[in-house]
Amino acid sequence: MTNELIDFTLVSVALLGIGIYGLAVKRNFIRMLFAVEIIINAANLSLVAFGRFLPHSGGQTLALFSIAIAAAEVAVGLSLIIVAYRMYQNVDIADFRSLKG
């Protein structure tokens, strides 16, 4: 393997930074979901990269579980988007204020 562990780790850190930027700056619900997806993928990349250095398949197995659970999260997140859009006719999270005290 010519690529080293630190290379994959740095790519993962860069993706984490981009995801945090998206979560902090964007107010569009769908774009915030994009940012969450990017962060989850950075975590999966770290899992598989570190798992490559183990003598067993534990890292890859955990990454597969993580991908499946992320799929469930996206399904629920998208249905929440649809419900919120139906209620407010908007995707701006600043408008979603009905739980605000």
Partner: protein, 170 residues
């Protein structure tokens, strides 16, 4: 030292991640997100994990990205092209991103990760299947239940109650 395939995948992945967040149109943004997810699958191939890479392609690029695309199409047209963000928070967000990247990057560069090398042979994907049905079988069943529960919950959430769905009258 990283090879050319790694560098190309890095450019594709990070570039399309930025494009997914910054492109004006949400539709192009979700297509750029597909590029990021596909780039991650490429990294999995480089890490000798072809099973995870194909799983990533099937689940993320194949289904989640298409699901996101269809959700975007349900949104009003002017909202798809409208950029909603706090201008004041933009610079703070860029600063936060830089702090995270520099701090975590410095920690990793300073740690012992740089010297780790491996002579391990790649894991056979048959081992992953064996793991799933032997050691991890309770987790596998639990994952199936969680997936079924979340999809059912999503359907219940998205169901419209103001529309009569009774088709027996037709």
């Amino acid at each position: 030292m990283a090879d050319a395939a790694f560098l190309a995948l890095t450019v594709i992945t990070i570039g399309s991640a930025i494009a997914a967040l910054e492109l004006r149109s949400l539709i192009y943004g979700s297509i750029a997100l597909m590029g990021t997810l596909g780039g991650i699958a490429g990294f999995f191939f480089l890490l000798d994990a072809p099973f995870v890479a194909l799983f990533q392609l099937a689940v993320y690029v194949g289904s989640i990205a298409v699901l996101i695309l269809f959700t975007v199409m349900l949104v009003k047209r002017e909202l798809i092209f409208k950029k909603i963000e706090d201008k004041r928070r933009k610079f703070a967000g860029i600063g936060l991103m830089m702090v995270v990247m520099v701090a975590l990057g410095a920690v990793f560069l300073d740690s012992g990760i740089k010297t780790i090398t491996t002579d391990e042979p790649p894991v056979d994907f048959r081992d992953i299947g064996t793991d799933f049905v032997t050691y991890y079988w309770p987790a596998l069943i639990l994952m199936g239940l969680i997936l079924a529960g979340s999809v059912t919950g999503a359907l219940v959430l998205a169901k419209r109650e103001d529309v009569e769905n009774d088709q027996r009258t037709n």
